[in-house]
Symmetry: C2
């Protein structure tokens, strides 16, 4: 068993061939994933400047700048990389690094642009829970390949304290998107997240759960069976190494990743102050489509959704079906069919014909002169339109006058 | 009892004093309201050009142009004006004409602008059910004064086949708008209309029902008691003379009047093909605010609402409360309060403080060094933020280490 330092030295001394990643590089990023909280602007920049191997060597040797050392803090002296990599392996997991072909670089490019906009002075930088910083590495578990899964993916997010309505809609969206070849990405939580994952699985489609804890001990525990099913064809993904707990601030940090990995985020149910709204905001900042499913205005779980839809600057789009979602995130050819409207025989009628039709009584037929008086038009006009109305089966001649044909009865007055 | 022609002659011979309307003028407009279907572009223009008295004289004498005569048709020879005015009087009704002070000229000005845009050639003109043409006269019934009632008014419209949800929301909106001094205008129909009227009445506020039948025989008959209550403090309004039936095409013609009389239209529930959507379209064409209450995406009665909200050009605004409605239609000072959000002690915390807080265990206290390792920061940082967390009542010293204060338990993990 080589030490971390030996692996790092080897990575410097004998660079690996193209298309493969030196174990030292992977181990360096494994170390970083535990030493630094994800989405820390200056740590990411330090690694980006020096490369992971050199960055870790300096942090371990104590020769990194004070600012970077303080961000890593007491964790600098620890090394759990071998244990972490082994724990991952034991649960069919692995560490995907930016140097891998599988790294979803295209999707995460928006985060690279985001971090480029962060100021140099630390106190001017965006709060870590809202900053747009790419991940240093991603622990994954399951049978899917990360870059392929997220290529055509949509995030479905929402409240944990969801209603039956929200869960029904999330499951339906997840199912329909899965059926149409889209990967549903969510956070694996109770409520909307779980319903969306289950909907996708019910369509035999792979789905991705982005977690804020280790992929070997997914949270919540009651979703153990769900996570197991997700890992069969899809992936569990996390920035935190195996064993890590889902601390509260990590949920917000995680949300930027859900937004970045997908082409758009659908909020199904969200309370007035919710993580789902935060994810929608990150998606908007990243230039992703923000979609919102409305609900009853009497439901507290839809207040956040309606707030998003009321924002004038926001550009959140109301969606009610998977077709609407695909219209937003898909390319040409994915446009939703317009809502089917019932076509009635009235549709093609002229103004005069409609007036004559409305003037026709239900039971006793009346002469054209009477129709003209009621309809407010000329008798000649009435005689002109009656044949067409008869051919359309709307009116009939009783022998003494004109009346509505029986099946039209009851449709005389409607708004 | 003078004949129509004698009254018209008298109106020409002896013009009335300022502020009063000659009976001949009112009788001429009463005649027009029965002779011509409302919203007929060329009849309105003919009356606008010649004045009501001269227009009626020529129509009665057969000297009007063929085009205008054909629009009046067989009705030109009839005269029910005295009977109509008497029938109105018997039910506490009257005819309000543009020459009256009570005429809501300001609100209806948008229709005058609308008709000005209509082409001269009849076949190029907008269909009568969609054309924006001012009314020639308005039959009203009730204790209210028309211009005052509609000055600060909002239309609430929606499906007749409404759900309990829609009726609840319409009644609530009607009530709250009524309480705040706004007149609720609707169509008096079953479903959303009725709920909105009742909500306003429950707040002891006057409300206006714009009908597509005579004000003496309001439709539907089952709303007789409701119409009676509306007439006590508000008004029933119709372009059609007493006794007229609510023919189907009249509903669409009537809808433009609901849109025009009000500062904005709120659609509460609407099916995919509905009169409520038509009213919203008229409101938009008239430059009025278009507001839509969303609902469950699983409800057919909300499909039309969501379609309106999805239109990119439409500018329909999602509203969930009377405050939102007043924000759209009211002046300065009527802005809605932002949604109240719960403020928690976490809100003001720095990134490091949040991480330290999340690192604190629930039961057994741990030393600052351990907190630093879990939170991923320096021990000095931990020692710097702990006092503030303790003062805020978030953490406590057990004698051997730091832990969450008991009332914070259970809030450690949340999205």
């Amino acid at each position: 068993m080589t030490s971390l330092e030996e692996d790092l030295e080897d990575a410097v001394a004998t660079p690996w061939g193209a298309g493969e990643v030196h174990p030292g590089v992977r181990r360096a990023r494994a170390w970083l994933s535990r030493a630094a909280e994800p989405s820390t602007v200056d740590v990411w920049r330090y690694v980006d400047d020096l490369g992971p191997v050199e960055a870790v060597r300096r942090l371990r040797a104590g020769s990194a700048p004070d600012r970077i050392r303080s961000l890593v803090g007491a964790r600098a002296e620890q090394d759990a990389t071998l244990a972490d990599l082994q724990r991952a392996q034991r649960c069919d997991g692995r560490l995907v690094v930016p140097e891998d072909d599988e790294w979803p670089g295209l999707a995460l490019h928006a985060l690279t642009l985001g971090v480029a906009g962060e100021p140099v002075v630390p106190r001017d930088q965006t709060d870590r829970t809202r900053a747009l910083v790419p991940p240093l590495a991603l622990w994954v578990r399951g049978g899917g390949r990360l870059d392929e899964l997220v290529d055509r993916s949509v995030a479905i997010v929402g409240s944990r304290a969801s209603t039956a309505y929200g869960e029904h809609v999330a499951a339906e969206l997840g199912h329909q998107l899965g059926e149409r070849g889209w990967t549903v990405v969510s956070g694996g939580a109770f409520g909307i997240d779980g319903a969306a994952h289950r909907g996708a699985l019910a369509a035999d489609a792979p789905t991705v759960a982005v977690l804020s804890c280790g992929v070997d001990r997914p949270y919540p525990a009651a979703h153990g069976a769900l996570f197991h099913r997700i890992a069969e064809s899809g992936l569990l993904v996390s920035e935190w190494p195996p064993g890590c707990a889902p601390l509260r601030h990590r949920f917000l940090v995680r949300n930027r990743l859900i937004a970045a990995l997908t082409r758009g985020t659908v909020v199904v149910e969200a309370a007035a102050r919710s993580g789902a709204q935060a994810t929608a905001n990150r998606a908007r900042e990243l230039g992703r489509a923000v979609m919102v499913v409305p609900g009853p205005v009497t439901s507290a779980m839809s207040v956040g959704c309606h707030e998003l839809l009321r924002e004038k600057e926001g550009g959140a789009r109301l969606v009610t079906s998977a077709a609407h979602v695909i219209e937003e995130v898909g390319g040409i050819g994915d446009l939703a069919e317009p809502e089917a409207r019932p076509v009635t025989p009235r549709d093609g009628l002229s103004d005069v014909a409609v007036r004559v039709l409305d003037a026709c009584p239900v039971r006793t037929g009346v002469p054209p002169e009477r129709l003209a008086a009621v309809a407010g038009c000329d008798v000649l006009d009435v005689l002109r339109v009656l044949p067409a109305l008869e051919v359309a089966g709307l009116v009939e001649w009783t022998g003494t006058g004109w009346r509505l044909t029986p099946q039209r009865r009851g449709s005389g007055a409607a708004s």
